[in-house]
């Protein structure tokens, strides 16, 4: 599988007159897990939407391998880049397996039946997310965390060089959150995927991300390795929370002390 490099250059965007992103310059290289952290409403999901070509940039551009995401035909982009959303909802009683198999949609020609390879990838994605026993259950009947695992499995099944995830572990239990993040790390290391994940849990970010971008009010406050970015000073400036970063034997751990007025 070939690699994908995503980049934004002097990217600005606003919903109506409200600016959300102001002149971002970032590069997301292949083979790494890129974490995006920041307070609510700082433009994290908007950034993913722009990278995935769902939103038109106000100024600047968001590009995949040097070509603006908006200029790809939808079906071609879907074979290069997958986006796992925060709150997917379906009122129709599709089963977990059917939903995960939809991840293969861009790879299966119209009117063709899924090939053995498609079914195989879908089964593997189910297994990775521990969904084997739920495969024939209706998605809407599952708990929030289980639904989210199915959505991540669908993203994995899409099998693209670039994988964008919006708070993939928000409603998962600790075990599955760790499992999801390890799998993302494995995909980046072993298969050279470009993984970009919006995360709220700074400890998960510290442990599994190779690069972290801290967004504050639509601008990159800090960007770089975990040591460079997740410092008490940065956390205080971005989140307005006093925090300590401890060096433990399992890696860096962020301890929150108290919120600032």
């Amino acid at each position: 599988m070939d690699s994908a490099t995503l980049a934004v250059t002097s990217l600005s965007f606003g919903y109506g007159p409200t600016p959300v992103l102001r002149g971002l310059d970032l590069v997301f290289e292949p083979g790494l897990v890129h974490g995006i952290v920041g307070p609510n409403g700082c433009g994290k999901s908007t950034l993913l939407g722009l990278l995935a070509g769902h939103l038109p940039p106000g100024r600047g551009n968001a590009a995949l391998d040097g070509v603006p995401s908006r200029e790809y035909p939808a079906s071609r982009l879907a074979r290069r880049l997958a986006l796992v959303e925060q709150q997917p909802a379906s009122d129709f009683p599709f089963t977990v397996f059917e939903t995960v198999l939809m991840g293969r949609h861009p790879h299966i020609p119209r009117f063709a039946r899924p090939r053995a390879k498609d079914l195989d990838i879908a089964e593997k994605s189910l297994a990775i997310m521990d969904l084997g026993h739920l495969r024939d259950r209706v998605l809407a009947d599952l708990s929030g965390g289980e639904r989210q695992r199915a959505m991540v499995a669908r993203g994995l099944a899409q099998d693209t060089p670039a994988l964008l995830l919006d708070e993939p572990t928000a409603s998962m239990d600790i075990r599955h959150a760790l499992k999801t993040m390890s799998e993302l790390g494995r995909l980046a290391r072993e298969k050279g995927r470009t993984v970009i994940a919006v995360l709220h849990d700074l400890n998960l970010a510290a442990r599994f991300c190779d690069r972290i971008t801290m967004l504050a009010q639509g601008a990159a406050h800090a960007s770089g390795s975990v040591e460079q970015t997740l410092t008490p000073a940065n956390i205080e400036a971005v989140f307005r929370v006093r925090a300590g970063v401890l060096d433990t034997e399992t890696g860096p751990a962020v301890i929150y002390a108290q919120e600032l007025p």
């Binding site: 939808a74 879907a78 986006l83 959303e85 997917p88 129709f92 939809m102 899409q158």
Partner: protein
């Protein structure tokens, strides 16, 4: 449900429909046995000399068959477009008339009845109904399509508003119509009385290509059920597909309404019923809904034409026949899900 059992379910529906057509063609004031009906049909197909009493042949071919085909095609079209609307609007309560197509058609038809329009001969009424429906659709799309996304919530809201305005207009027309109000009311309730081959051909020209067009996008419709953004990241151009399917399904139901009047229930309940039987996958759901809708409307029309002593409005009968079946299946599916 596996592909094999879904294929079986579809063939059972198709065979039941074929059997029902033969049966319905034999029922009525002059009874014709199923064997004779089959003989009439095969004679016509082979263009062979008639082997059946010419009176019976004429009753079957010229009187009953056009009406049967109309009922079948309208049922098929309404149920398919109902399934498409539910998928498009991500709303299980949607039906072919959610966007105001029926109110538009009713308004157009009532206007033509009130003013006694006859510029296109007997085709004036269906033509006015069709124009009303299409104009309504265009208005709804223009209202909700500003951002180029045709957001489902905006579409539904625009449809409800336009429908409300048109219903008020319709009430006003009824108020003005005095003694002609009964004609308007009866047309609105829908009927297949005295439909001709022209009506059947018209319905076929809209329903069959429309159905194929919807089937072409059936898998995209499945993916769009995950939400617009997810659909986009799976390579479905959600805005364009939505516009295309919306126009196709609306035109299909507009022609159905023009042919038969406003027949509710079929487009709402049949897709639900079929989803319980065959699952939510639109590649199977669309054909199954079409066949189910055809069976329901044809049964109801045959009942009112040949069994009941007097013609009962078809919309009333479809609800009376289909409702209990739906209740039964719905209750059963709730039980098995819990169990």
């Amino acid at each position: 449900m596996t592909a094999v059992s879904r294929a079986t379910a579809i063939s059972i529906l198709a065979c039941s429909l074929a059997g029902l057509v033969i049966l319905a063609a034999g029922m009525g004031f002059i009874p014709v046995s199923p064997g004779e009906v089959a003989a009439v049909l095969t004679d016509r197909l082979r263009e062979a000399a008639a082997t059946v009493d010419p009176l019976k042949a004429s009753v079957v071919m010229d009187v009953r068959l056009p009406r049967i085909l109309c009922a079948l095609l309208v049922g098929f079209g309404l149920a398919v477009s109902g399934a498409v609307f539910q998928g498009l609007l991500l709303n299980p309560l949607a039906d072919p008339f959610t966007l105001g197509v029926s109110s538009g058609a009713a308004f157009g038809a009532a206007l033509s009845l009130l003013l006694g329009l006859a510029f296109a001969g007997p085709a004036t009424l269906p033509l006015m109904a069709f124009i009303g429906a299409t104009a309504t659709l265009l208005a709804v799309i223009a209202m909700s399509g500003r951002d180029g996304e045709l957001n489902p919530a905006n579409l539904i809201l625009a449809g409800v508003i336009v429908s409300a305005i048109l219903s008020a207009g319709l009430s006003f027309i009824k108020y003005l119509a005095d003694e002609r109000v009964s004609v308007i009311v009866f047309w609105l309730m829908g009927s297949f009385t005295a439909r001709t081959w022209t009506d059947a051909a018209l319905a076929a020209c809209a329903v069959l290509p429309g159905f194929l067009a919807c089937l072409f996008f059936a898998r995209d419709l499945n993916v769009m059920g995950l939400g617009t953004r997810s659909a986009k990241s799976l390579g479905v151009d959600a805005g364009r597909v939505r516009l295309f399917l919306l126009v196709t399904a609306s035109l299909m139901s507009a022609v159905c309404v023009a042919v038969s009047g406003v027949i509710g229930f079929v487009g709402l309940i049949i897709p639900h019923l079929m989803r319980l039987v065959i699952g939510p996958d639109n590649r199977w759901l669309l054909p199954a809904s079409g066949l189910g809708g055809a069976i329901l409307l044809l049964s109801a029309d045959t009942l009112t034409r040949a069994v009941l002593p007097q013609e009962v409005p078809i919309g009333v009968l479809t609800a009376l026949i289909g409702g209990p079946v739906f209740c039964h299946l719905f209750a059963r599916s709730r039980r098995t899900r819990r169990g």
